[in-house]
């Protein structure tokens, strides 16, 4: 004889309804927590990874990691703009480049959970044009020379004094909020934009910028590693991501700091790489979350074990009868293990689906590379659900293994005799 029908297990679970429900709930809770942690991670990741075009290149001070830590001498900006590989506006012939400044402003969250640093970007009309995903929702962009800002929707919703018409205390003046913009799920969705020169004057940054952003001349996009192979370049010294895509002009711009002695204190990277790199250090929160899910899982595995031991103890005779009918030990083991997994599956499914409650909930945490607030939304997607469900099943399998072994090992005669 082969396996014991699965219906046997299903009916057994159904008979012990209350016990099954309680244990399943015990599995569901850690699964929900686990899924929420995954959703937090994928939401945070999306906020960075979706940002950026491969044709936009940013120049920063070497090893400064983020704009907030970077300083570029004002004298370097025209050198970068004059590089032959920078795209130019068709009518005016001006290079498409934007020298920008990022200042952090400590703002209070509306939720009452204290304050955080919001990134204020001093940008230019050309700079706004470089970020294609950004569009104005309401009002207008800050005027040149005026103490005005436009605020990303996520920031306007979550921080005090950031909604239309409010005034932000920035430097020594109050800056009026004249517009709100939408940046999709990109890192720009956590920023406030002002006019670069006005912001620089307010903060006495007359000698340096934070970064210079440029658009590379368009062209066929190939991987950095492919370009390097084609041009017999030595990759390691480039210090860039070999698998990222760039145009030929983009590659030349990435190489500019190592080729042009005037730019040797700088480094260049694609916009996509710049934000992608920040996910690594982004949040201590997800580490804490994973730690918690692990311990909840341990507790739940013991609960499954308990329920399965009780189920087996109560079914001593049944097991003996099954054995007497000719089912092998292996079949008993498989059957009880399956029952535990089935039990956990109910909980895992409920738990994973329950995590949809956090889907889309938008919140913020600090990016610890730049000490700025990142607004993100929890993202529960198929991968999160699948991994959460798998986590629940694994937990059931672990909890059910020892009871199943015990069931399989019981001698027929003594099991028959037991009441």
């Amino acid at each position: 004889m082969s396996g014991i029908p699965l219906a046997y297990n299903v009916r057994n679970l159904a008979v012990r309804r209350v016990s099954t429900a309680m244990t399943a709930l015990g599995v569901a809770l850690p699964t929900t927590v686990f899924c929420s942690v995954l959703a937090l991670r994928s939401g945070l990741k999306a906020a960075f990874v979706r940002t950026g075009s491969p044709e936009t290149i940013v120049f920063l001070r070497k090893s400064s990691m983020t704009e907030t830590n970077s300083t570029i001498s004002r004298a370097d900006a025209p050198i970068i703009e004059a590089l032959g590989d920078v795209a130019r506006e068709p009518e005016s012939g001006r290079p498409i480049a934007s020298s920008e400044l990022v200042v952090l402003l400590n703002c209070r969250r509306r939720s009452g959970s204290g304050s955080s640093n919001v990134a204020i970007r001093g940008t230019t009309p050309l700079g706004r044009g470089l970020r294609e995903g950004v569009r104005l929702l309401d009002g207008r962009w800050p005027g040149v020379g005026l103490a005005e800002v436009a605020v990303a929707r996520g920031i306007a919703e979550r921080f005090e004094g950031c909604s239309m018409g409010s005034r932000l205390p920035l430097g020594k003046r109050d800056w009026r909020v004249v517009g709100t913009f939408d940046a999709g799920a990109t890192a720009y969705g956590s920023e406030v934009w002002a006019d670069a020169d006005t912001l620089a004057a307010e903060f006495h940054r007359d000698a340096w910028w934070s970064a210079v952003w440029v658009r590379a001349k368009p062209g066929e996009l190939r991987r950095v590693s492919e370009w390097a192979a084609a041009k017999t370049l030595d990759l390691p010294e480039l210090g860039m991501t070999p698998e990222s895509f760039v145009s030929e002009a983009g590659l030349a711009l990435l190489l500019a700091p190592s080729r042009d002695a005037r730019l040797k204190t700088l480094e260049a990277m694609t916009e996509r790489d710049y934000f992608g790199r920040q996910t690594e250090t982004a949040s201590p929160i997800s580490g804490i979350g994973a730690f918690i899910a692990l311990f909840m899982a341990i507790g739940a595995a013991f609960a499954v074990m308990n329920t399965m031991y009780a189920a087996i103890a109560g079914r001593g005779r049944e097991i003996a009868v099954l054995r007497a009918m000719g089912f092998r030990r292996r079949a008993i083991l498989t059957s009880f293990l399956l029952e535990a997994i089935l039990l956990a599956a109910i909980g895992a499914l409920v738990g994973a689906l329950a995590s949809f409650a956090v889907n889309g909930v938008s919140t913020g945490t600090a990016n610890f590379a730049s000490f700025t607030e990142v607004t993100f939304a929890f993202r529960v997607n198929a991968s999160v659900i699948a991994r959460g469900f798998g986590f629940g099943l694994l937990l059931g399998a672990f909890g059910g293994l020892f009871p199943a072994i015990r069931a399989a090992r019981r001698p027929i005669v003594s099991a028959m005799r037991a009441v």
């Binding site: 244990t23 952090l104 205390p169 949040s283 909840m296 308990n306 009780a310």
Partner: protein
């Protein structure tokens, strides 16, 4: 124990040892989490602070702590009446080895003459034995490129006095330091070095960073002066190029924690989920126990036990089980966190000096009993108050 019924309770507890053990372990895991989360919240609310920290203020740029102040502000703050001492600090952002969390520690550049005044609770010690070695501090003061590191860093990275530590500045020049001194105290995982040295490098490589400080620590003469002193400092700089915010050290630290976002809500809701899971698990096992005991209980009642007494005995039994479970979880957590393991790296530096209080571990015990009783009362009351005949009939 438990008067005349001690042995009855004891025997019932070990009647199904596996179940008792599994229930305890499951409850212990949940208790472990609940106390850990509570300890975390307590830790974040009350980061370890220096002796006399209630007399301390921190002056930072009004816009945010990432903006810097001119170094000339320090002496001016010192002149404010009610100020006893100041220490200007540069929060040096740098990478040691790589970006991994376990290689992160705080790096602070300051005036070594002010170091001990600013951190009076720290002792200068030998990194290997932990015994006092005051003379090391003089070595640190004398040499421009010297560093003084917390004893935890020495132990964790296997550092020795005289070793060179190279740091790759993030938006700062790189520095190369020689370990000359070691300190121990409530906080023991920061690396201190000379601000003069950093400033000289800045002047050569990054002039815009030279002569700027991240914040100024202020020690006031009396706790009563704090509001006046902070108001005076802020008024003094209100119209300068760098308006300031002066807040208590506690408020300043809280500002860092708040960057994490709504952690309080996150941790609280998880703790709640854990407590709820605990109740589910306990209720389930206790219901199984109650069913199994129906015959016993009917017999006890036949012998003249009142339902109330039977219920009382069962609740005592549950209380013992839960106290043991809670103790395993809570003191397990206390024990685990008294070692400095890799878990302290998880929180990105926030948990470096994370310790759980003994009081919290003890508080978990009544909490465990409460959880046990909440989950036991329904199934146990049901069997305790069931008619004798019905209970006996059901068990056949």
């Amino acid at each position: 124990m438990f008067g005349r019924y001690g042995s009855l309770v004891r025997r019932n507890l070990v009647r199904n040892p596996r179940r008792s053990a599994l229930t305890s372990l499951s409850l212990a895991a949940s208790t472990f989490l609940v106390v850990t989360l509570e300890a975390l919240l307590a830790h974040l609310d009350n980061l370890p602070s220096a002796e006399g920290s209630e007399r301390r203020l921190v002056v930072r740029h009004a816009t945010s702590f990432m903006e810097t102040l001119p170094e000339s502000f320090g002496p001016r703050v010192l002149d404010v009446p009610g100020v006893q001492g100041i220490c200007s600090i540069v929060f040096y952002l740098a990478i040691w080895r790589d970006l991994r969390a376990e290689n992160f520690f705080a790096k602070i550049a300051l005036d070594p003459d002010r170091l001990r005044e600013n951190y009076p609770e720290t002792r200068v010690v030998d990194p290997e034995t932990g015994a006092d070695r005051v003379e090391l501090f003089e070595d640190f003061k004398r040499e421009k490129r010297a560093a003084s590191a917390g004893i935890a860093l020495f132990q964790k990275y296997g550092w020795k006095l005289g070793d060179t530590v190279s740091l790759r500045g993030v938006g700062f020049p790189d520095v190369e330091l020689t370990l000359r001194s070691c300190y121990d105290g409530p906080e023991h995982s920061t690396l201190f070095f000379h601000r003069d040295y950093l400033d000289d490098l800045c002047r050569e490589q990054l002039p815009e960073r030279a002569g700027r400080v991240s914040f100024i620590n202020v020690i006031c003469k009396s706790i009563d002066d704090l509001p006046i002193v902070s108001a005076k400092i802020d008024a003094m700089f209100a119209n300068s190029d760098a308006p300031t915010v002066t807040e208590t050290e506690k408020a300043f630290q809280a500002g860092f924690v708040q960057l994490l976002g709504n952690v309080r809500f996150l941790l609280r809701s998880i703790a709640l989920a854990c407590a709820f899971a605990m109740i589910c698990v306990a209720a389930n096992t206790l219901a199984m126990t109650a069913r199994e005991r129906a015959t016993d209980i009917a017999i006890l009642k036949t012998l003249g036990f009142t339902p109330g007494r039977v219920l009382g005995l069962l609740l005592v039994e549950v209380a013992i089980l839960c106290v043991v479970a809670a103790a395993v979880g809570a003191f397990g957590a206390k024990l685990l966190f008294s070692f400095e393991g890799p878990w302290l790296d998880i929180g990105g530096g926030f948990l470096r000096s994370f310790h759980m209080s003994l009081a919290l571990a003890f508080a978990a015990l009544p909490f465990g009993v409460l959880v046990g009783w909440v989950s036991a009362i329904v199934p146990f009351a049901r069997v305790a108050y069931a008619p004798i005949a019905a209970s006996l009939r059901r068990s056949g």
